[in-house]
């Protein structure tokens, strides 16, 4: 059962959908693993993870967007979360991503981030997007750069402390990459 009014987004290998009850254990396992979760922050214990999860659902209701659950089409399993995050105190709406254990190395975050970015630009009408990345999170920096984002500035995040802000190419950047069309084959096939 969907807990939000999130749309279901389709891409080549993935479905992005709203959070559901069955996703919670995967999310709690992610938060419980400090090696994976330190760059995301927010929840060290299972109760903290529950609180964050409820918060994400409320985020959808307040803003009309939030973190999708990334579902692996092949297995139906939750493979991570990806979406737009904008609590009070955030510098700007942020495109964020997390890949759960066992799903790395398959380009899932890249594909999901492209799809969520296209959704933000085409469906939500966003004109720009950022990603906030903690210094030292080299994997996320590499992905941000692969997505065409560029480092803009450092700032103090209300929750995470010293943080780096990357800015994504806008909807009018003139490339298919900006709209993520190179993942669903619809444009790239003719490019």
């Amino acid at each position: 059962m969907s807990l939000t009014q999130a749309p279901v987004l389709d891409s080549t290998h993935l479905i992005l959908r709203g959070p559901e009850l069955r996703d919670f254990d995967s999310l709690a396992a992610f938060f419980a693993d400090p090696d994976r979760a330190w760059g995301f922050g927010g929840a060290e214990t299972r109760p903290d993870a529950w609180r964050w999860w409820a918060c994400n659902i409320g985020h959808w209701h307040i803003h009309g967007y939030g973190y999708f659950t990334i579902e692996d089409k092949a297995t139906g399993a939750p493979a991570g979360i990806c979406g737009i995050w904008n609590p009070e105190g955030w510098p700007e709406p942020e495109l964020g991503w997390v890949v759960f254990e066992g799903f790395e190395g398959r380009g899932i975050a890249h594909e999901a981030a492209l799809r969520a970015r296209r959704y933000a630009y085409e469906d939500l009408g966003f004109t720009t997007l950022t990603s906030n990345i903690l210094p030292g999170n080299t994997r996320s920096v590499a992905l941000a750069e692969r997505l065409g984002a560029v480092f803009e500035r450092e700032y103090d995040n209300v929750s995470m402390g010293r943080d780096m802000l990357y800015r994504h190419p806008g909807p009018d950047a003139g490339t298919d990459t900006a709209l993520g069309r190179d993942d669903d084959g619809s444009v790239e096939a003719y490019a």
Binding site: L3, R51, W53, I57, G58, I62, G64, E88, W90
Partner: protein, 202 residues
């Protein structure tokens, strides 16, 4: 955004209780930034208050119950929140309340909490409930006792720093002695000639 999930509306003599909506957030934020919130994990900064408010809404979707926003029936002004709260880590389902600091002393918490407990018991099948209260939160302890709660020293606490007040069972809460007493007190507050003296109570 619509008021999804579908949250029932409860009407009482002076109040209407509706699901928390984005537009109600500023009053919530002001209260959680204030000293009033010291027994509820506050004071919180703006980010923390927003995250908690979003979780209040998410709680409804996940649990099927949650905290209602208390509005004045005539003016729609908000006075606080009351309802059920059962996040992970909570040993039992809690009946909780918070009244904005400048709205205390008019019996709104009593009126709202009495109504939500009745709904949980009579419409949603709850067989009991507790309230977790900081032992220094005398206003809330007095409200719990006016609602017929009894301190339960054997019950599991959230983290050892809170006292557990156990609500009367559904049959005890429905008994004339308790219910009539609560409703008489609410009626006093509804009476414009009633001017309570001494410390304000919620």
């Amino acid at each position: 955004m619509s008021n999804y999930p579908d949250i029932p509306v409860i009407e009482t003599r002076r109040l209407v209780l509706r699901g928390p909506e984005a537009g109600d957030y500023p009053d919530f934020k002001a209260t959680f930034a204030s000293y009033r919130s010291r027994f509820m994990g506050g004071p919180l900064n703006a980010y923390e208050a927003w995250m908690l408010y979003a979780a209040e809404i998410g709680h409804w979707a996940v649990r099927g119950f949650g905290m209602w926003m208390i509005h004045d029936k005539l003016t729609d002004e908000t006075y606080g929140m009351a309802g059920g709260w059962f996040p992970a880590k909570w040993p039992e389902r809690e009946i909780a309340w918070i009244i904005w600091p400048d709205k205390a002393g008019r019996g709104y918490a009593l009126e709202a909490t009495h109504a939500v407990r009745r709904r949980f018991y009579e419409r949603q099948g709850w067989e009991g409930a507790v309230s977790y209260i900081d032992p220094k939160n005398l206003d809330s302890i007095r409200l719990a006792e006016r609602l017929g709660c009894v301190k339960d020293r054997e019950a599991a606490t959230i983290d050892g720093s809170d006292a557990v007040y156990r609500h009367p069972s559904p049959s005890a809460a429905a008994s004339g002695q308790l219910r009539d007493g609560i409703e008489l007190e609410i009626a006093h507050y509804c009476d414009p000639m009633f001017k309570p003296k001494g410390m304000p109570i919620d």
